[in-house]
Symmetry: C2
């Protein structure tokens, strides 16, 4: 059973899916370029950004935020720690937890990179009118991504 023989509903869903992936892919790649100028991966940026806006978080909380595995979060934080952008601290109240803090260096970096990131994303999406952005956002909300 090839594409053309599928029920119409499935054909539409597939087309939508492919376009969604390509749009996300294309956008990610462009964003990644500007982060690479500061030697940050997307995940590293995501961690710095979360800490910047939410304050120190334990690794479990960061896993939720960046949507990656526990195993990977360890690696990401390792990378940031090696560059002295964050530091780990065992929680006093629950010593299983490791709380991650921005260092001064990390704060300075994310304070520099975040506004540029916002600018790049806005430029990347400027082909959508404000109205279309809103329509788009409300459709995306239907995906019920857990916050």
């Amino acid at each position: 059973m090839k594409f053309n023989q599928l029920p119409k509903e499935q054909r539409k869903a597939l087309s939508l899916y492919v376009k969604l992936m390509r749009a996300a892919n294309k956008t990610t790649n462009r964003i990644h370029r500007h982060l690479a100028t500061d030697n940050l991966t997307l995940s590293q940026f995501a961690v710095l950004e979360a800490l910047y806006h939410l304050g120190p978080l334990c690794q479990g909380e960061l896993v939720q935020k960046i949507l990656k595995s526990n195993a990977n979060l360890t690696t990401v934080v390792d990378g940031l720690e090696k560059k002295s952008l964050v530091r780990r601290e065992r929680s006093d109240t629950d010593r299983r937890r490791v709380t991650v803090h921005l260092t001064d260096l990390g704060k300075a970096l994310i304070a520099k990179v975040f506004p540029r990131h916002a600018k790049v994303v806005a430029e990347e999406l400027q082909f959508l009118s404000e109205k279309k952005k809103e329509e788009f956002t409300s459709l995306l909300k239907l995906f019920r991504i857990e916050e």
Copy 2:
């Protein structure tokens, strides 16, 4: 400059971007699960699917289709070849090119997996009405992804 202090346009663009990534991520992960039951990665599936619908293609053409690097395509095709799902053939007219063909085994596999894939994707997106799917698709078209 933190999120709340950004110009409204940038805040909106960022929210949209984050939602787009999360939606794509969530959908990809679910799709990947059903492919994993046949030991296929997303990229391997994408290659089989392209060959299934378009016939034999050279690797450069496949790179366009699956949006991965040349280096990676070699690995992906290696993996498929090891499982005897595809075979490589040097082009006679241009011996720099390597044309990739589905084997009978590969044909049988993709003929089995593709309809299930279509079904899974349709189920995954069924929370969107047909009308909303169309709206969504037309917004995504504005991203002008090169076909």
